[in-house]
């Protein structure tokens, strides 16, 4: 049985996301939580462009979106309580370029969790996640048994 329902995960991810100045400034917003799979949306903005002529996203903006999505997906893993998890490493393969002026999505999921480590994979895409423009894998460290579900209670009151 999952520790948290999709609705609780959604609430927790939204609370955490809303307190991060950088993702707020980029307009990165929660799209969906389905089981262990988390999806964020990064709306097209001209400040996020890398190639001014082509109007396409900067690779670094994808790095932010993927780092954020993979990192937040650690909250959605069903085998452990959500905790404080700094990033150990992240690798991104750039598989293609999205057309100009489209919104980008990133979906991620924990594929293995141990007592100390969480391994995550994810993709970034614009039309279908079966046709990703980037693929990422990374590992996160569980530094402390800080159960973040207290945030849910703090909001409910």
């Amino acid at each position: 049985m999952p520790i948290l329902t999709d609705a609780e995960k959604t609430k927790l991810v939204r609370i955490m996301n809303d307190h991060i100045p950088h993702t707020a400034s980029l307009g990165i917003e929660l799209h969906s939580v389905v089981g262990e799979e988390l999806t964020f949306k990064m709306p097209y903005r001209k400040e996020l462009v890398g190639d001014a002529e082509a109007g396409t996203f900067h690779g670094g903006a994808l790095t932010v979106l993927l780092d954020h999505t993979l990192g937040m997906s650690t909250v959605c893993g069903d085998s452990m309580l959500p905790s404080v998890t700094p990033t150990l490493d992240l690798r991104i393969d750039h598989l293609g370029i999205a057309p100009p002026r489209v919104d980008i999505y990133a979906t991620a999921k924990v594929y293995k969790a141990t007592r100390k480590l969480i391994f995550v994979e994810g993709v970034a895409y614009y039309d279908s996640k079966d046709n990703p423009i980037a693929r990422a894998t990374g590992s996160w460290v569980r530094v402390a048994d800080v159960d973040l579900t207290w945030m849910l209670g703090a909001v409910q009151q």
């Binding site: 307190h19 991060i20 100045p21 950088h22 993702t23 400034s25 001209k46 400040e47 996020l48 462009v49 890398g50 190639d51 001014a52 002529e53 900067h58 690779g59 670094g60 903006a61 790095t63 932010v64 979106l65 993927l66 780092d67 954020h68 990192g71 700094p86 990033t87 150990l88 490493d89 992240l90 690798r91 991104i92 393969d93 750039h94």
Partner: protein, 150 residues
């Protein structure tokens, strides 16, 4: 003039500044570059909008990655004999320490440049280069130089 037009100018403090103005996302992050003894120092000035962890506070890890990726690309262009716009293939980032809310620096090394592929390593730090916040390796695809440009 586009970025592709201005990369042919020899790298100097002024041309690096010009290159950065051509990349909207680099402008948004506020990235600057300086030349010290012919080596490029990239700077990500302290900015509250870059915070990823407000309780420390620390910069968003993804921003540090984005900064390092941009540094790697411009370092490569600056070292190319025939500059062209490289395409990122992949990027591998190791986080070593949280980046605090202060100026962040990056320097790069062109580890290997072949005909089609370049390997650039990047170190990012805040207080001292010997205490890096993150290290990264980027692979770039180098577009073939067209015949008439040779």
């Amino acid at each position: 003039m586009t970025l592709a037009d201005v990369i042919h100018q020899a790298p100097s403090a002024d041309t690096l500044k010009l290159w950065l103005t051509k990349v909207p996302y680099a402008c948004y992050l506020g990235i600057r570059a300086e030349l010290h003894n012919n080596e490029i120092l990239f700077i990500l000035p302290k900015d509250k909008k870059l915070i990823g962890n407000p309780s420390l506070p620390a910069l968003h890890g993804g921003v540090v990655g984005a900064f390092m990726e941009q540094a790697a690309a411009f370092h490569l262009i600056a070292k190319m004999e025939q500059p062209s716009l490289p395409k990122i293939i992949n990027f591998s980032l190791d986080y070593l320490r949280p980046a605090r809310l202060r100026d962040t620096y990056a320097s790069c090394k062109l580890t290997r440049q072949g005909r089609f592929i370049a390997n650039v390593s990047v170190t990012s730090w805040q207080e001292h280069i010997d205490k890096p916040n993150a290290i990264a390796r980027a692979h770039f695809l180098i577009p073939e130089i067209k015949q008439q440009e040779k």
